[in-house]
């Protein structure tokens, strides 16, 4: 089985290109330049990862995201290196069995989408329910990745009223170690880095209490946002058309969920490190956090009551209070003989 270096060579890339990718992998997985020789050695000698990719209740945005990852390894190298032994959407289901037998104990099981637990008929493949397919493949996996917010938290299918009773994959794989890469979709380069780090170290990455790799999900967007000085200075965009928007002020008032969202967008960025939503002038809407679909209208600031509390509610409360106050005073007066 070929290593990453072999794929680079066969594709006509130079050793310098390979070393550049190795350095990027080392730094994105938080290993630092001093570990570079180890990373290079591993990527030269270890065979490419075998990936079984199962799509459940998903939009395939996560698949699209990894296909668009170009900053860590060139796209043509990536499509060969992340060896898709089996992709539920792209291949016949009997291949999963072959692939599993081939790589037992070592393959990377990538799970995209949520699982319906209501009857098992909302999501099926080859006549089997999603849950059955998942359970048949889970034991031989060296690394189980819950890719995207659907697999990690339930995602859009889990949003109110959740007609299929969709759940995150770790609710089915209760006793398994599942590494979550939430996001809608997750940053493609993050997916590549996590799989590459598994090849290098042979272990899943270090995760936080929710199962997310610390190196990518350890900080909030707000922690690393380049617009933070404007937030601190109290300068906010009040409308997308205004001058404040052109000046690049903070988007908190426009509904930015950066302060409560852990993701790598502000550091790794999208499209080959080109940009990320806030840099393009749009607030972060918190896609990598659980239940973000249910967090109300996305353009409402974080600090207001989600479903609204205006002067009308305040007045209604005050009127009820006044009526109760009047009633109590009346009773007090009557009882007191006043």
């Amino acid at each position: 089985m070929e290593s990453l270096y072999n794929v680079f060579k066969r594709r006509g890339y130079t050793r310098r290109d390979f070393l550049k990718s190795a350095l990027l992998i080392a730094s994105t997985i938080g290993m630092g330049p001093s570990f570079l020789p180890q990373v290079v050695k591993a990527l030269e000698s270890k065979p490419k990862p075998q990936v079984l990719w199962l799509s459940f209740q998903s939009c395939l945005g996560c698949t699209q995201s990894i296909l668009n990852s170009t900053s860590i390894v060139p796209a043509d190298v990536l499509s060969e290196y992340i060896s898709l032994e089996y992709h539920e959407t792209l291949m016949f289901s009997h291949r999963s069995k072959e692939a599993m037998d081939l790589q037992k104990g070592r393959y990377v099981l990538v799970l995209e989408g949520s699982l319906p637990v209501d009857g098992g008929f909302y999501c099926t493949g080859g006549g089997r329910s999603a849950e059955e397919i998942l359970k048949s493949l889970m034991d031989g996996a060296g690394l189980i990745l819950a890719l995207g917010s659907c697999a990690s938290w339930g995602g859009i299918a889990h949003a109110e009223p959740n007609p299929t009773k969709a759940v995150a994959v770790d609710e089915i794989l209760k006793h398994k170690r599942v590494v979550k890469l939430p996001g809608c979709p997750p940053v493609g380069d993050v997916i590549v880095s996590v799989i590459a780090s598994f090849v290098v170290t042979g272990k899943p990455p270090e995760v936080d209490g929710e199962g997310r790799p610390r190196v990518f999900y350890g900080q909030t967007i707000h922690d690393r946002c380049y617009r933070r000085p404007f937030y601190d200075a109290g300068k906010f965009v009040g409308s997308f058309e205004g001058e404040d928007a052109q000046r690049g002020y903070c988007l908190y008032r426009m509904g930015c969920k950066g302060p409560i969202t852990r993701n790598a967008c502000a550091t790794v960025r999208w499209n080959g490190g080109l940009s990320f939503p806030i840099q393009s002038g749009h607030p972060c809407f918190g896609c990598s956090e659980a239940d973000f679909w249910d967090r109300g209208f996305i353009y409402r600031p974080l600090s207001v009551v989600e479903e609204g509390f205006s002067w009308k509610e305040a007045l209604a409360g005050a009127l009820i209070g006044t009526a109760l106050g009047y009633g109590t005073a009346y009773i007090n007066k009557k009882l007191g003989g006043g």
């Binding site: 209490g209 929710e210 350890g218 900080q219 909030t220 707000h222 922690d223 937030y231 601190d232 200075a233 109290g234 300068k235 906010f236 908190y252 008032r253 302060p259 409560i260 956090e289 659980a290 239940d291 967090r295 109300g296 600031p301 974080l302 600090s303 207001v304 009551v305 989600e306 479903e307 609204g308 509390f309 205006s310 002067w311 509610e313 305040a314 007045l315 409360g317 005050a318 009127l319 009820i320 209070g321 006044t322 109760l324 106050g325 009047y326 109590t328 005073a329 009346y330 007090n332 007066k333 006043g338």
Partner: protein, 222 residues
């Protein structure tokens, strides 16, 4: 429960509940007292009660502002109380996240202040609250006037100021937890106000005006 789930809870259902309790409770207490009224006084006023009521409301905040009164006799009360109130009211309304909430509730274009100003206000309010609380516990007269209610309110406000400062300055990776705890405590405070002496801010004008009105009725000066 994850930090974000807790955040969503304190921000939506709990904050909403707190605001309902606040507006209903404050109006209830205020109007209950107002509707109870006072016994009819048949004596002819000796002065001008309405003028004196307005005068008292206007000049009361500056009445004790003599050098001797402030610095020689009640320095801690005056200076500490002033710093605390300015800080607490400023932070409550003008920190951007808070201002956006009040803007939505009142419909008014409430200004937003930069972090550097809110930091200064927070340090001064927190410091003066500590000093005022210790003073309250040690001063023989204040000690007698103070109940559990005051200590609980001071503790709650102190924790809100502290967690607010912690969230903006030193929370690190615990930011979402600290911020959520800050909002949770603020929700508790909003609920607690109508049940406690903290509701004095709504009675302030009523009681000060009433004192002036009484003085006008009797024809005496303040």
């Amino acid at each position: 429960m994850s930090d974000v789930a807790f955040y969503d809870f304190v921000r939506e259902p709990f904050l909403k509940l707190a605001l309902w309790v606040f507006f209903l409770g404050i109006a209830y207490r205020f109007f209950r007292v107002l509707f109870l009224g006072i016994p009819h006084d048949y004596a002819k006023p000796k002065g001008n009660p309405y003028y004196m009521a307005v005068k008292k409301i206007v000049i009361k905040p500056t009445m004790g502002w003599t050098f001797r009164e402030i610095f020689a006799r009640r320095a801690i009360n005056f200076i500490g109380g002033f710093m605390f109130h300015i800080g607490f009211i400023g932070l409550t309304f003008l920190v951007p996240a808070h201002a956006l909430l009040w803007r939505e509730i009142t419909g008014l274009p409430i200004p937003m202040m930069p972090n550097i100003v809110s930091d200064m206000l927070a340090y001064s309010a927190f410091g003066s609250l500590l000093v005022l609380t210790v003073h309250r516990a040690l001063n023989p007269v204040l000690k007698l006037l103070t109940g559990k209610d005051e200590y609980f309110a001071n503790l709650l406000i102190g924790l809100i100021l502290f967690t607010g400062l912690l969230a903006t300055k030193w929370a690190g990776s615990g930011y979402i937890w600290i911020l959520s705890i800050h909002i949770f405590l603020a929700d508790l405070l909003i609920i607690y106000i109508p049940f406690s002496r903290l509701s004095h801010f709504v009675y302030y004008f009523l009681s000060v005006g009433f004192m002036g009105w009484n003085a006008g009725k009797r024809g005496v000066s303040f």
